[in-house]
């Protein structure tokens, strides 16, 4: 739909050859959307460490790929050069990488952040508990919340998407989740994913919020369509640091997704993957606690089938991590795409291997409000089990106290939401 596709497989490969020979300074001097025209470009460029960029500007993209994959390049080296890379450079590198390349490079980087709890420690995997209900019935939401927690999902955040995103409704859901966390002494974060302006109103009104959320895109035009700007995000973050319930300093939660710009007709002639990378370059400005993609949320016009979804998830994890983000993944699909549960599980397993910080968690894999499929509480527990990963430190202790986990594995009691009753 952006009219950028190659006309043949060979033409696509020719493009990759050309890309591999481009120097980083060629890319630097030609941002895909001009600096003067686009706020996302401005943030990416203004945040760059120019002296680090100067050291690497003569590298080709092909050489950058090799540097990333070399034995002598580890987390400290990658953290450092990430400060001198623009998003277009990172996207370009990903375009030259195969599946193992992407997973292997991702494994090298694990970024931490702190809100109420610490996320991103090696050997740990967290989950958002996403207990949505079609008409926001509080008891119904609470039921799904308890279910998720009984499986070990909820250490990243208890994050509710409201069907009714009025301020009154948002305040009610924030209070409810906060009160539940207080009552059961659950070490985690709460968040209600309405438009950021609504959350800010709720916060000003005294509602308890640990994490503030917003969906972001990779072009200013797309962000305008979302009703979002740098100034608004600055205001939101400042408000959170002054009135939010969390210690921080990381108090923001962003979601992205390849194709949102296309869907909003604001791609400015740039391909989806590069725009996704630019979204990461934009959102790292606010030092978020959590960033995840939502691949396949939109539909076949952006990601056609399971194969594309898997590829997008591997790319996004690598690109997010190379931006220095505490990156999570939501390998999702809709029912009008040519994808199914098996594709999602494959994407989940590979990105777990790549060291994603977190995934979503919905009951039985089916979000009954948003009408799409995401990782189930069962899949969540399975990703931990497969690689011997633990929940976040404080939350693991809580799970043990509740008798739901022992030595990093679910006990007999796990999976029974009525342990809270």
């Amino acid at each position: 739909m952006s009219k950028l596709a190659a006309n043949s497989a060979l033409e696509r490969m020719a493009a990759k050859v050309v890309l591999s020979e481009l120097q980083l300074k060629d890319i630097y001097e030609n941002p895909v959307i001009p600096y003067e025209k686009d706020e996302v470009t401005r943030i990416i460029y203004d945040d760059l460490n120019l002296s680090i960029y100067e050291e690497i500007k003569n590298w080709t993209v092909g050489e950058l790929r090799e540097y990333v994959l070399s034995f002598s390049t580890g987390m400290p080296e990658l953290t450092r050069i990430s400060r001198g890379l623009t998003s277009e450079m990172i996207a370009a590198t990903a375009k030259l990488m195969s599946s193992i390349d992407l997973v292997m490079a991702s494994q090298k980087m694990k970024h931490q952040a702190y809100c109420n709890t610490l996320i991103g420690e090696p050997g740990r995997l967290a989950f958002r508990c996403q207990p949505n209900h079609p008409i926001d019935d509080p008891e119904g939401i609470l039921a799904s919340m308890k279910e998720g927690l009984s499986y070990g999902s909820g250490d990243a955040v208890i994050g509710i998407n409201p069907n009714n995103d009025s301020v009154e409704s948002v305040i009610k859901l924030l209070k409810m989740s906060h009160d539940f966390m207080q009552k059961w002494e659950i070490p985690t974060q709460n968040c209600v994913l309405a438009h950021i302006t609504t959350q800010m109103q709720a916060l000003r009104g005294g509602a308890p919020i640990s994490l503030m959320f917003q969906s972001l895109a990779g072009s200013q035009r797309a962000n305008d369509a979302f009703g979002v700007s740098k100034d608004l995000l600055d205001e939101a973050m400042e408000l959170m640091l002054r009135k939010g319930t969390a210690s921080g300093p990381n108090v923001m939660y962003f979601e992205t997704g390849q194709g949102s710009e296309v869907s909003l007709d604001s791609h400015e002639g740039v391909d989806m993957q590069t725009l996704e990378a630019r979204t990461y370059g934009f959102c790292r400005h606010w030092k978020p606690f959590m960033v995840n993609n939502v691949s396949g949320f939109i539909g076949p016009e952006t990601l056609y089938d399971g194969r594309q979804m898997i590829r997008a998830d591997l790319e996004d994890l690598f690109m997010g991590k190379l931006h220095g983000l505490p990156m999570g993944i939501a390998p999702t699909y809709t029912n009008h795409m040519y994808a199914d549960q098996n594709d999602q599980e494959i994407a989940g397993m590979l990105t777990t291997l790549g060291g994603a910080n977190f995934y979503m968690g919905v009951p039985g894999g089916d979000d009954v409000m948003l009408s799409y499929q995401d990782t189930s509480y069962h899949d969540d527990a399975s990703y931990r089990e497969l690689l011997g990963l633990r929940p976040l430190r404080e939350f693991e202790k809580w799970m043990e106290k509740m008798g739901l986990m022992e030595n990093g594995r679910l006990t007999e009691r796990a999976g029974d939401l009525s342990v809270f009753d």
């Binding site: 279910e147 109103q201 539909g299 016009e301 029912n335 009954v368 679910l410 009753d421």
Partner: protein, 277 residues
């Protein structure tokens, strides 16, 4: 060695295979409680009834039980099939909805090329110019969108309730139209042609697993070239497991009255309303 009569043997196998068994497999439609020894069975039961979400289904190791897993796959298959269904002409005739078309000539094109669903075909645009009711407060647009089933299940109750609510409030309404394979943004072109103040589009949502029958209402006040997503007001999850169609119809009439009063929709409308307290 005894001679084996091959014909005889084959016949016996065929006879055995053709015996039709009377056994029917009863497979549950609703979620099944799979937690074997719940801490509080009554509380668990209550919780399961409180939401259509797949909770209380138990586990084997970290995986779903077989029934839960198959239910999930069945629902996903049904939803995928529902996307592809076409609206029936009899249904349109019964509801007296004239059928217009977008530029999408096939389901494949509709799914893969968003722009094809965002504009009327030349023929339909012409029809609307000639036959649409001009200069009304509200224009109602109905579209199959990503679920024909949603329209069939909700519109028969929603539409009369909506029309009644608007009439009660003395809000003028153009004759409702059906746009085959229309997307949300087609409402901007419709507004331009009929010169109404607000367009309300009732569109089938992409099918989830819990329901393939969910409808959304998108409202836009006086759209123009600068209109963006956040200018639209959306109410989603209208179906028998969510907001009931009759209630939705009444609520939407109220909402349209507000939008007309504040002369804005979307985020702008929310902000103006908040200011007024």
């Amino acid at each position: 060695m005894r001679q084996i009569n091959m014909d005889d043997l084959v016949q016996r196998v065929m006879d055995e295979l053709s015996k039709k068994t009377q056994e029917v497999i009863h497979f549950p439609e609703q979620k099944v409680r799979g937690v074997d020894n719940p801490n509080n069975a009554e509380a668990l039961e209550r919780a399961m009834n409180r939401t259509p979400a797949r909770i209380g289904i138990g586990r084997t190791g970290t995986r779903m039980k077989t029934t839960s897993y198959l239910q999930f796959r069945i629902d996903q298959a049904a939803a995928h099939d529902a996307v592809m269904k076409a609206i029936s002409p009899e249904w349109l005739a019964r509801l007296q909805l004239p059928e217009l078309h977008s530029r999408a000539t096939s389901m494949q094109e509709y799914l893969m090329n968003l722009d094809s669903g965002r504009m009327l075909s030349d023929e339909s645009a012409k029809w609307l110019e000639q036959h649409g009711d001009k200069g009304k407060d509200v224009q109602i647009v109905i579209s199959d969108g990503l679920s024909t089933s949603a329209c069939e299940a909700t519109i028969p109750d929603l539409l009369p309730a909506l029309q009644q609510g608007l009439a009660m409030r003395n809000i003028s309404v153009g004759k409702p139209i059906f746009i085959n394979k229309g997307r949300v943004w087609i409402q901007d072109q419709v507004a331009k042609i009929v010169g109404c103040k607000v367009v309300i589009s009732l569109i089938g949502e992409r099918p989830g697993l819990a329901t393939a029958e969910s409808l959304s209402a998108y409202m836009i006040y006086k759209p123009d070239a600068n209109t963006v997503e956040s200018d639209r007001t959306v109410i989603s999850n209208i179906h028998r497991g969510g907001t009931l169609p009759i209630e939705a119809g009444a609520y939407l009439a109220e909402l349209l009255e507000e939008i007309l009063k504040y002369q804005a929709s979307g985020v702008k409308y929310m902000q103006l309303r908040a200011k007024n307290g």
